[in-house]
């Protein structure tokens, strides 16, 4: 716990999994923070000043200093507040966690997202790629409770979209991607993840998220 007065503010958007990663990290570390919900169609001066390069959420502002990009923020939180580490101590395992975190971000999220929002023409290909991505994660989770081992770590935080958003979006889209029949181990992980005592407090309510995305379908 920091001895001096800490000012932690976080600019986010509640339906965004990227924003949620930061919320997860803050809650897992037990950090007190002020939250500001951003309207991305009318960006606040604070957002534009603290993330002038990308003008996106999430942004963490710690003692007046801004940090952007969700996974950069999560590692910053991990290095600044050292209790409940998100990364293991061994350099090889840390490199491995960063590799999987990046893979989730770059290879899993895009096709999963596309599978839900693509039109009929592009959907088949997107679903195929999404299933391949889920298969890779199924192989990686194996018999571990979490990607981080016994507790939630960097990769689990990075994969929050897979652990929670996918179930809601597939119901809306009428798709069966992540199911216990197709990916039993990954499905089990998603249940462990979304019912974890701290994680579940940080995730947006299911019905609210469902309604939000449902209203965006045609």
């Amino acid at each position: 716990m920091a001895a001096k007065e800490e000012q932690v503010k976080f600019l986010g958007k509640w339906p965004s999994p990227f924003s949620n990663r930061v919320e997860l990290a803050l809650k897992l570390k037990g950090i007190k923070y002020d939250y500001s919900e951003e309207d991305l169609s009318n960006k606040s001066q604070e957002l534009l000043t603290s993330n002038p390069v990308h003008k996106k959420v999430p942004v963490l502002i710690h003692n007046g200093r801004p940090i952007s990009e969700s996974l950069v923020i999560v590692e910053y939180i991990d290095e600044t507040w050292k209790s409940n580490p998100f990364l293991p101590p061994n350099p090889y395992h840390r490199a491995s966690a960063r590799f999987w975190s990046k893979l989730v971000d770059e290879k899993c999220l895009p096709p999963l997202w596309d599978a839900f929002w693509c039109d009929e023409k592009g959907r088949e290909k997107a679903v195929e790629e999404a299933m391949e991505a889920l298969k890779i994660l199924e192989n990686e989770i194996g018999d571990k409770r979490f990607f981080g081992g016994d507790d939630v770590g960097l990769v689990d935080i990075s994969a929050n979209f897979v652990g929670y958003w996918v179930d809601i979006l597939q119901e809306i889209a009428g798709l069966q991607l992540l199911t216990s029949e197709k990916f039993p181990k990954l499905y089990k992980w998603s249940q462990e993840f979304s019912t974890h005592p701290i994680v579940k407090q940080a995730l947006p309510p299911r019905d609210k998220l469902f309604a939000f995305f449902k209203s965006r379908t045609g």
């Binding site: 940090i67 290095e79 840390r94």
Partner: protein
Amino acid sequence: MAEQEVVLLDEWLSMFGSRARIALAEKGIKYEYREEDLSNKSPLLLQMNPIHKKIPVLIRKGEPICESLIIVEYIDEVWKETAPLLPSDPYLRAQARFWADFVNKKVGDVGGRIWAGKKEEHEEAKKEIIENLKQLEETLGDKTFFGGETFGFVDIALVPFSPWFYTYEALCNFKVETHCPKLISWAHRCIQRQSVSKSLAAEKEIYDFVIDFRKKSQLD
């Protein structure tokens, strides 16, 4: 530290491979360099990076580490007594990671649309890369290196792209120096370091490769 068996699977022209080479050289690590033929990947590469099948891959004690910036962080954590590549302050580390990520997306990906992209895409890609390099120029400012006085993570992330400027310039008809003179001076300062000069591919060699690739792929 006792000499560990360290192998780097790489391809000389790769800017991502260069990052790993620079980091290893900065730390003075002895390693075995293995050149991969990417049209005929070795069984070792396919075994060590089965998901992406890409270089660079660093292999230490038989264990593979993939993705160039992850390799650089790994090298920094294992050989932590010499030449730190990332600052110790978490806020400055976050800034370094942010800008290295910016280089990947805004120079790497956009640069790819130039050298490996169709001619029709060049005008748009050129505008973007100039804007992004100008952003980096602004970030560098009058500092010696991106982190200040010490050569480090962001410099390692970006400098391997500098010999590629010649190719981008030739394909899109512009000069980086016109828009980003400080970046060009910074690149020259970096090349004064042996770790960098011995790790970068030559701009002419890159250009010849790209022209040949574009001809074979019928991109022009």
